[in-house]
Amino acid sequence: MNQPTIDTSPKVSDEIRKTTCYMCACRCGINVHMKDGKVAYIEGNRDHPVNKGVLCAKGSAGIMQVNAPSRLRKPLRRVGPRGSGEFREIEWDEAISTAVGWLNELHETAPQKLAFFTGRDQSQSFTSFWAQNFGTPNYAAHGGFCSVNMAAGGIYTMGGAFWEFGQPDWDHTKLFMLFGVAEDHDSNPIKMGLGKIKARGARVIGVNPIRSGYNAIADDWVGITPGTDGLFILSLIHVLMKAGKIDLDYLSRYTNAPVLVNAAEGPEKGLFLRDGDGKPLVIDRKTGEPTAFDKPGVRPDLSATYDKDGVTHRPVFHLMAEKYLNDDHAPEAVAERCGIPASRIRAIAAEIARVAFDEAIELDQEWTDFRGETHSKMIGRPVSFHAMRGISAHANGFQTCRALHVLQILLGTVEVPGGFRFKPPYPKPVEAHPTPHGDRRPGRPLEGPHLGFPRGPEDLLLDENGNAQRIDKAFTWENPMSAHGLMHMVISNAAAGDPYKINTLFMYMANMSWNSSMNTKGVMEMLTARNEDGKYVIPNIIYSDAYSSEMVAYADLILPDTTYLERHDCISLLDRPICEADAAADAIRWPVIEPDRDVRGFQSVLIELANRMNLPGFTNEDGSPKWKDYADYIVTHQRKPGIGPLAGFRGENGDKEGRGEVNPDQLNRYIENGGFYVAHIPEGADYYKPWNAAYQDWAVSMGIYDSPQPYLFQLYSEPMRKFQLAAEGHGDQQPPEYLRQRVKDTMDPLPIWYETDQQGNEGYTINALTQRPMAMYHSWGTQNAWLRQLHGRNPLYVPTKLMREHGLQDGDWAKVSSPHGEITVPVMEMAALNKNTVWTWNAIGKRKGAWALQEDAPEATKGFLLNHLIHELLPPKSDGMRWANSDPVTGQAAWFDLKVRIEKAAPPTDAESQPEFPPVKSPVGTGPKDLVWKVGK
């Protein structure tokens, strides 16, 4: 046969430039193939620790993001009213001097009048450094509305959490249980991990009201009632404890289960018995004596009590037995509320027990623990867990996250082969984290970092009158452990002037007038609210975005950012690095293409602002600026001598890692290395990290710790007990009366489950959730010509039973209402769904005029946000007070507590999802009609 000859070896590209993806926060390594100086094709970098060559849909679509017509082109100054989208283009000089004009005075007189909040910022160690030197207490990134429950719950319990803090031991685990995850930040690694498990035929259990994505491939699906995971987990704990299927050796050695707790009524009740050095005491089984937990050779007893001066001290484990063996936690007692048959709960508990104990694994690897004892083997309990916002974005999420960690710890599966493993710089106990700082000192920097982990009431940020020091009221009695701030409260508090008025709201990379806010319509009103004198209640709003998002229209001054292929970035060990469980790693982005617009990297703009204001920290003694731009900062900034943003290629010759002098050639070395640096944890140091002397020493050498920090897992949280004690009336820091009972109830030092506040929800009985689509990143994906074809609109998915009950069919419209608002949207049936839950994809709905889309784009006509139904405040209490719709411990926004009612509705007259908003004027016009994108010949 004569078939055409084709060239099966065409040239692929002129050059490959290796950098880091930022189509989401997972930060995979990418090979950018260039042709004629243009981006031709993007693939995963095989050498990269995060993605090892694979790439998600968003990553591959990056090419459509850097050519998106929605890219901002020039600084903008608002000319129409806020929200109109009417701007004039200005020069950078004018932009910078306008910003400096607003900011400098605040810096010198009242720094707290600047609120600087930064969304999904990957340069938090830098932006917080800026804010600290500006002197405002009002800084945070988006963690408060994202997943602070997960982060803080993990750190308070075991010095790290799931998410970016750690990962299952994908290579060894035999049973993997996933709670409340649709996609997560660790997007590619989770998929790779699931793939590995599946290839081995190991079991995956998915706990999620919705059976899609990861949960669709789970071998067993637990379609739990939203908000009841804590109940389910505590029941598993009940069953496992009762059957003795817990790792007593592990508990006695590595956790505070044996630590003695004061049992006498009074101001000490529930606090640890400590020695003169402040070290918690345990009873040593060998001597029967109370002994510091870390004394070499000590064998902590889980069972013995200790009387001293007439006061009984009981080990934490006694308190746990008392609490969790109680029949309230029996499967039969929780089954109905969780929507999981008791037999299923038992079967899952039994399977966990079987795999953890009957299929234990041993690695022939010697290691020495912090007490000096050498172990000849590493014992693995190959059960692993992972969880994310499904459990954390509820108002009982903090305690639920704690419960899950306690479950893993009881099984002895944390930091052992086959279990959950931390990624450096974690593990890191609370003690190694700062406490929050909120002082205001005009012209001077804040005394310490804004955000931290309170150890007790003394660390709250309250002024002498008990008022919040921060605009978001973080670290107050309303949410004492709000370790990430409360970005979702900033605009509403600023609009209400409560706790005080601010002058300038400065935001970066957060679409606050749309998908990242609760009560979207209300937020738009707050941003445009005026005083009686006609001036805006929030006088100045500065915003940095790279694209024409909904938020752009609500700012007075726009500082247009570059796209991720056009700038320097630094994904640092000081921040949220790209580490793996067996390696520390960091990465950069660098300009693989030059911007074709008049835009600047935001971090460099911050440096310029700082230089213009001579901010301390950015200025040399002689008054000259320390850094000319962000690249300069990345290379030459030192947090402590020898420790800077990047850990690799330090020292004059670039041969030092972790600690070392500044290397002016560092960025080039990163680029040559593929845009990242990996420092492997030595063998034998890679498990048992919190207690493994070899790991601790390595971490010190890397600059991760200043000194070894071995610690015990905190099954029982003493800081929580301190807040609870205050609420019981002890100490001079007292909660206000209206919060006293709540603090008492929710600050239980052992994980509990409680029903979230349902006041005002009478008649609203259906749970309403959102999930992230794997191929879309919040609002960014929509401007992408390829991705928007996949998710151009979002129906409300309704379970079969509710479809029947309400006489609905695919394509019908339904009115969905909550105590707070209503939307009218198209519905679609889904069978593999909790029978009392509806859901939709997150952030597909768009405002007309945004993102350079035509106004009749399906995202704007059919797509919708569930956010209109969610309020940042709960319905009024009997005294008229409205409490935050947040976790009472951390302030985490309780997105998934939403309860709704649905009814069939006539299609809206214009067949558009309701509510509709008038279009904003696009500062960048709209995109072209057709696309034929090939850069090579």
């Binding site: 078939q3 099966t8 993007i42 993605n51 290839a199 996949l790 035509q854 995109g927 696309l931």
Partner: protein
């Protein structure tokens, strides 16, 4: 040349694991990216930023719900591209010879410079594996990345289809299904790989690995229950058990 070869030297194709695919669309977009820049005309998009966007894709991921007679409904993500059928009707219907099946590896390709865009091959394909590019007016289909798998400008590990290289879950496998000893053939044998619409007589080369049985955990309780025998009924008894057990360490 629209006659099919009597046989092909190899049967290169994909094996797609429905038990592992999480429906992330990574393969879809990676395919779009590679094939826009490489073999043949770019895959164009119409009304790219407007009301009715659509474009040419060579690989798409569907999803299906399966309601078993008993138990929970299941959701299955289902990627689909050309199956490089042995008896490819798309080849024999082609009036121009543009569609052909390669003798050396069985890849079904379109020679775009001969194609008149009549669409008949797409009509004849049961799987929806061919799309007529609206800008170029020629038929596009999965090339099995013929310009990657032998490409000497790529490192050897990368000589696999773009979609396979990118799949984060490892749900896509590539190899010679004509060779019973190849990894893919073994996988198919082990996991009961199946054909789509076998009744069409197309003899697809690509195979699908069916999802493993689901929601079985409760049925195993008989074996599992002994693991949960209580060590004590009361908290007091529990502490006693604790003491006894700790003694053993």
């Amino acid at each position: 040349m629209t006659q099919l070869p009597q046989s092909t030297d190899r049967k290169m194709g994909l094996v797609i694991d429905l038990d592992t695919c999480v429906g992330c669309h990574a393969c879809v977009i990676s395919c779009k990216g590679w094939n826009t820049e490489n073999y043949g005309a770019p895959l164009s998009d119409q009304d790219a930023y407007g009301a009715d966007p659509s474009g040419t894709f060579l690989n798409r991921v569907h999803s299906y719900e399966v309601q078993p007679a008993e138990g929970h409904a299941q959701l299955i993500h289902f990627p689909k591209s050309c199956l490089h059928c042995e008896d490819a009707p798309c080849v024999t219907v082609c009036p121009t010879g543009a569609s052909y099946k390669r003798v050396e590896d069985g890849i079904v390709l379109v020679n775009e410079s001969d194609c008149i865009g009549c669409g008949l091959c797409a009509w004849s394909c049961p799987y929806g594996a061919r799309e007529l590019d609206q800008a170029e007016g020629v038929m596009k289909k999965c090339t099995l990345c013929v310009d990657r798998i032998y490409n000497e400008n790529l490192p050897e590990v990368d000589r696999v289809p773009s979609c396979v290289r990118t799949c984060p879950a490892g749900a896509r496998h590539f190899g010679d299904l004509g060779d019973p000893d190849s990894d893919v053939s073994k996988l198919v044998a082990e996991r009961d790989g199946m054909d789509l619409m076998p009744e069409m007589g197309t003899k697809p080369v690509n195979k699908y690995l069916p999802p493993r049985p689901k929601d079985q955990i409760e049925d195993q309780i008989d074996i599992l229950a002994p693991l949960l025998a209580p060590v004590a009924e009361e908290p007091g008894g529990f502490i006693g058990w604790l003491d006894k057990t700790l003694e053993k360490f």
